[in-house]
Symmetry: C2
Subunit: 130 residues, 2 copies
DNA sequence: ATTATTGCAAAAGTTTTGCATGCCG
DNA sequence: CGGCATGCAAAACTTTTGCAATAAT
């Protein structure tokens, strides 16, 4: 049974109020301004719980630590392999990616994650100035 | 400048000869049968190099350590969030996911990764027997 | 009162790195 | 030879966990 906690509430609100895709540590630093005594372990525990609940999304990339997203509507991500930052991408939302799985499949599909990757605008600009 | 190495060759052939999606450690254990003196560090270094070259793919999931794929043609993955295993999915390959990015975008897109996740057939079966 | 949740710190697990040695070109 | 790649081991990082104390119901 899940009980209310001030810390979890604060973490959830923090994620819902931003549109970047922070790491656990970034959430920790940010939430610490309101809850100075919160511990990093608590942040990790709540991020796990919230993402299992579907209240937030956990995003794993091949560029750095996991990131978290308070925006749970279906959308796709662009991951910069240079700086690790993630941005939401405009994407034709009429496409239902599920429909395209053609073959019989023995598992149970719960969701999907579509990531485009490459180099973000900022990193491209920095590169040119070198 | 990249030089030939017996170890790298062996790692690449190993990945190309299998259709599962091993972790670095699984590759290490497997390659060790041919190259008993190879070190785990060398495996990591070469997996990085090969995936930067595009000769293999690195797959990060929210279920366990990174996995590697010697099959580089476009295809999509199913990730079991219970056991962490990955399988290739049959998917309507006529869909070009790139085409669906509608808005102007300042970054440079190099590729994509589409993952479906849930519980695989094996894990569902085990669950029923409990 | 009961027990989920926390803070703290230690541990676990994965990946990277420094350095002397070995091997490719 | 010159310098990239390796083996080994230590270090760096991210994430999880054990435990006693705290707080929610």
């Amino acid at each position: 049974m899940v009980r209310y906690s001030r810390q979890r509430e604060c973490i959830l609100r923090n994620l819902q109020s931003r549109r970047d895709h922070p790491t656990a540590d970034m959430v920790y630093e940010s939430v610490r301004m309101e809850q100075p005594n919160i511990s990093l372990g608590t942040v990790y525990r709540n991020l796990s719980l919230l993402s299992e609940n579907g209240q937030i999304r956990k995003i794993s990339t091949s560029a750095g630590p996991d990131r978290f997203d308070g925006f749970t509507e279906p959308h796709v991500h662009f991951v910069c392999r240079h700086c690790g930052n993630i941005q939401d991408m405009d994407y034709n939302s009429e496409i239902n990616l599920f429909d395209k799985t053609s073959a019989p499949f023995s598992g149970e599909i719960e969701g999907y994650e579509l990531q485009f990757f490459g180099r973000c605008g900022d990193c491209l600009a920095i590169e040119k100035n070198k």
